[in-house]
């Protein structure tokens, strides 16, 4: 709760820096704010507190996921530096929008009431719609913002419709009461009301859109490509982490009963298979590294869906820990990947694989951290991504979903193909006229990239630090 309050207040305070045109201060101030809130967040570890008549609950689950979200934002912030240097006039507003969207993300991981779920999604999304279009003079950015906004508004409507139907069927917005109502139907309603099923499915469609799970992923490549890379990184990490935490909470706390599972389990399994297939096969066909990362983020939604399918009815144990570890490893690697890509794209004005040619010679650090990130996303040992996949897959095997895991393993074999392509470009191809010059990197950015690479390797060597935390 402290983190929500702090972020809201400091976000407002941040705006004043913009009014006073103190743009040079913004980046350090943002890092201080995020670092401070990250520390404060962990003070709540080990306790369970309820707020607003039980609409929000802060427990280990929410603290852990808030931690990931805030950490991601903290290491991502240095990559916004191009805006500072370019003298963007409305800089403070962007930073404040980022802080506000984090409030939405924290609500998503700690909600206990469908109203809070909806509010969290809206706070997060509205900020994202604006940020997607923040490169105002770029047509692609405008297109991305419009597309994201129209689609997002549409799917929010569907989500809200689902919430309303669930309310109609159960008479409550509170997760625990929904769960109770589902398990103890009123006399004469031993089979659940169809309204509940439809409501549930509509909610899943809405959530599926937010985490870009197929078949509701179609916006992802275009929006990711058009959005300024810094905010794309934000979308593909923080929105996804918070979205999956919220999704898991919804399943575990509202619909754990067997009669509800009978409906959502096949739905999610189908979504999962489709997401893995489309994400991985789609990524193979891309020539732009940024679009490849967009499809890769779809495919990682698929791996996370496996953890949802391997559901054990609790916010702890194999499934929840799997999502926690996977989100952390994925976020760390994705921030590094987008970070490097942004620096390269800013300097070289291109986002295809060939734009990375010879990067190992001009910028060894960038090449190294992108390599670590790619290996982690591909799930090669010595990186966090390997243990993320390992925990998620073993949770699924434990629950008997062997076929699904086999499919996922085959898909991750496919993924090695496209994750190696940037590595090959950086290390094994020579520079040409457009790629001969070194990419400028600031100290903050270099520090962030080193930290991310170290974190990835640390997670890959000592996974026990995070695994089993919940």
């Amino acid at each position: 709760m402290n983190s929500i309050i702090l972020l809201s207040v400091l976000g407002l305070g941040n705006l004043f820096l913009g009014f006073r045109r103190s743009n040079r201060l913004l980046l350090p101030v943002m890092m201080l704010i995020l670092g401070g809130v990250l520390t404060v967040n962990f003070l709540d570890w080990g306790s369970t507190q309820s707020f607003f008549n039980g609409m929000l609950t802060i427990d280990n689950f929410s603290v852990a996921f808030t931690g990931i979200v805030l950490l991601t934002a903290l290491v991502l912030i240095p990559f916004s530096q191009k805006y500072v240097l370019d003298g963007e006039p409305n800089l403070a507003e962007y930073y404040s929008l980022l802080l506000f969207s984090l409030v939405g993300a924290i609500m998503l991981v700690s909600y206990n009431h469908l109203l809070m779920l909806f509010l969290g999604i809206e706070i997060l999304s509205v900020a994202m719609y604006v940020l997607a279009g923040s490169d105002k003079r770029n047509l692609r950015s405008n297109e991305a913002a419009l597309k994201y906004f129209l689609m997002g508004a549409f799917f929010t409507g569907i989500l809200l419709f689902g919430v309303a139907l669930v309310y109609g069927a159960t008479g409550t917005f509170e997760l625990s009461k929904i769960s109770f109502a589902v398990q103890n139907p009123a006399p004469g309603f031993e089979t659940l009301h169809p309204m509940l099923y439809i409501g549930m499915l509509l909610m899943f469609i809405g959530m599926g859109f937010k985490v870009s799970a197929a078949p509701f992923h179609f916006w992802t490549p275009d929006v990711y490509e058009g959005t300024p890379t810094f905010f794309t990184a934000f979308m593909s990490t923080i929105v996804k982490t918070a979205g999956f935490a919220a999704f898991l909470k919804l399943l575990v706390q509202a619909f754990p009963a067997a009669n509800a599972q009978g409906i959502w389990l096949p739905t999610l399994t189908a979504m999962c298979v489709l997401t893995l297939l489309i994400g991985n096969v789609g990524a193979v066909a891309q020539t732009s590294a940024k679009r490849m990362l967009a499809y890769s983020s779809v495919s990682h939604a698929g791996y996370l869906l496996i953890a949802l399918v391997a559901f054990n009815g609790q916010l702890e144990g194999a499934s929840a820990n799997g999502i926690l570890f996977y989100s952390l490893a994925y976020s760390v690697a994705t921030v590094a990947a987008f970070g490097v890509l942004k620096l390269v794209a800013d300097a070289r004005q291109r986002e295809d694989y060939d734009g990375l040619n010879g990067l190992a010679k001009t910028n060894p650090l960038l090449a190294f951290s992108l390599t670590v990130a790619m290996l982690s996303l591909a799930g090669i040992p010595l990186t966090g991504g390997f243990f993320g996949k390992f925990f998620v897959f073993s949770a699924a095997v434990e629950n008997g979903y062997i076929g699904l895991v086999v499919f996922a393993v085959v898909m991750s074999m496919v993924s090695i193909y496209y994750y190696l392509r940037p590595i090959i470009a950086m290390y094994m191809r020579d520079t040409d006229a457009t790629t001969a010059e070194a990419v400028p990197v600031t100290t903050f950015q270099a520090g962030a990239l080193l930290l991310l690479a170290a974190l990835t390797v640390l997670l890959g060597v000592l996974p026990g630090l995070v695994a089993g935390a919940l």
Binding site: F393, I416, Y427, M428
Partner: protein, 489 residues
């Protein structure tokens, strides 16, 4: 604790190498590898050949999943650790002859790979084994990919895909076996992945039949066994000489060691069921590799195919499930490592001087370089398995093992010695003897440092050949343990 030191030292040294740029990294890198050799030699001297697991270390790595960082050495592990510790300094020294870009990174990767290799040979936990298996892959991919020949991107990509897909199958097999095990000793996890738990599993014959292929896939690609070998000749040819030496001298032993430690005793009934098939594939590999080697024009490719042929015999020995066969494989792993590294070094030395590897372009080196000729001849005769050399002991035991299993297979596999003599002596004749060519007119003999590199290898050729018992008695206990595990069920 000694094992942990053996594992940590190369990584630490690799990280420290970052403070040295370019050529300045040569001496520290070699020094680090020699320290590692001293550690391994100390382990060998204090090793008690009558006991099995020694220098053990066990740390609860991922408590919630029952996965331990458990390492230890028995005689078989020790032999391979020794091989790694001997060959890595030699390989580093051989790299000094060339001028690379980013030399310090190159040496750091070699040292980093050493940790992965030693980890594979000492792991006592299935997931640690898999982990180290991949740790060894990443540096070699970059070594071959960044510093390799013109086609390096395509060739190393194929190599990486082949091996990683093979090892993902192994991981799937391990995960399956993991879920069949009982709770971990501390009770925190419902399953554990210790080697001993895998040995104690009671699987039905049907299950073992398919689990066998999951695990064997990784080993089959790495060794490689026919028909999984198609990545090998290209990669050996395109990779820079030191990387080729790492691949052929040490890395392929990971596959053979893996079969002995993680396949035979874990799924003995599966092994029993597929034994004939694997032996036939191995023997096809022996003949196929040898016949293609005869036709080769490129020295490096010829050695690559000869390696394929020799590995086939080792696989056949392992799968004969006889004491002779397994002991032969143990000692032949050493012998092959020494010989193939020496041969690749000489091929590289010739290429550096003449700029060509094409056999037809060479000739008459004997008169220009008598020292090189002698060294080449010794290593070549070792590979051909002439008595008194290291190859003889290994191949004799291996053929004996295969013969015990099946006379006909033994007879066919024995052709390897004849064919080996054909293609190797033919190459020797055409490269070293005969008239000079325009390429070899200014050929110079081995320099002092090149000789210093070859001397330990040549000493080993004769040491293993004359006193094989130094090494055979080390692995005897382990081989008996493995066979007991196989026979028990």
């Amino acid at each position: 604790m000694l094992t942990v030191l053996l594992l940590l030292w190369p990584v630490a040294a690799a990280l420290l190498l970052h403070f040295f740029k370019g050529r300045a990294a040569r001496v520290p890198a070699l020094g680090a590898a020699l320290v590692e050799f001293a550690l391994a030699a100390y382990a060998a001297l204090t090793f008690n050949a009558n006991n099995s697991g020694q220098f053990s270390f066990d740390l609860n790595w991922i408590p919630s999943a029952g996965i331990h960082f458990a390492v230890g050495m028995d005689g078989l592990s020790l032999l391979l650790v020794l091989l790694t510790a001997v060959l890595v300094p030699v390989i580093l020294l051989s790299a000094f002859r060339r001028n690379f870009e980013n030399e310090s990174v190159f040496y750091a990767l070699v040292l980093f790979m050493q940790t992965g290799l030693i980890g594979v040979f000492t792991a006592q936990d299935a997931f640690l084994f898999y982990f180290m298996w991949e740790v060894a892959l990443i540096p070699i991919y970059f070594l071959a990919g960044v510093w390799g020949g013109v086609n390096r991107a395509r060739v190393t990509f194929k190599f990486f895909l082949y091996t990683i897909i093979g090892s993902l199958f192994m991981l799937a097999g391990f995960v399956y076996l993991y879920f069949q095990t009982g709770p971990s000793a501390d009770g925190l996890s419902a399953h554990n992945s210790a080697l001993a738990s895998f040995y104690a599993l009671n699987l039905t014959a049907d299950t073992q039949m398919w689990v066998f292929w999951l695990i064997f896939a990784a080993f089959a690609v790495k060794m490689p066994i026919f028909p999984f070998h198609t990545w090998q000749p290209d990669t050996y040819t395109e990779a820079p000489a030191p990387a080729t030496m790492l691949l052929s001298g040490i890395m392929l032993k990971m596959g053979i060691y893996g079969c002995m430690r993680w396949l035979l005793p874990v799924v003995p009934m599966g092994v029993d069921y597929w034994q004939n098939l694997v032996l036939i594939l191995a023997i096809i590999g022996i003949i196929y590799g040898a016949i293609i080697a005869i036709r080769q024009q490129d020295v490096k490719r010829l050695i690559a195919y000869s390696s394929l042929s020799h590995v086939g015999l080792m696989i056949a020995g392992v799968f004969s499930l006889t004491q002779m066969g397994l002991q032969g494989a143990s000692i032949q792993m050493l012998a092959h490592g020494v010989n193939v590294v020496g041969m690749f070094f000489i091929a590289d030395a010739i290429e550096r001087r003449t700029g060509t590897r094409n056999i037809a372009d060479l000739g008459g080196l004997t008169r220009k370089a008598p020292v090189l000729t002698v060294c080449f001849l010794v290593l070549l005769l070792g590979t051909v398995a002439l008595p008194l050399t290291n190859g003889f002991v290994g191949e004799f035991l291996l053929l004996g093992g295969v013969y015990q299993f099946n006379h006909w297979m033994g007879a066919v596999a024995g052709v390897t010695i004849i064919l080996g003599a054909v293609y190797l002596l033919r190459m020797f004749q055409r490269v070293m003897l005969g008239p000079d060519s325009s390429f070899t007119e200014t050929f110079t003999d081995l320099t002092g440092s090149e000789l210093a590199l070859l001397v330990p290898l040549i000493v080993l050729v004769f040491w293993i050949g004359l006193f094989p018992n130094t090494f055979l008695h080390l692995s005897e206990g382990s081989v008996m343990n493995i066979l007991n595990e196989v026979v028990k069920r």
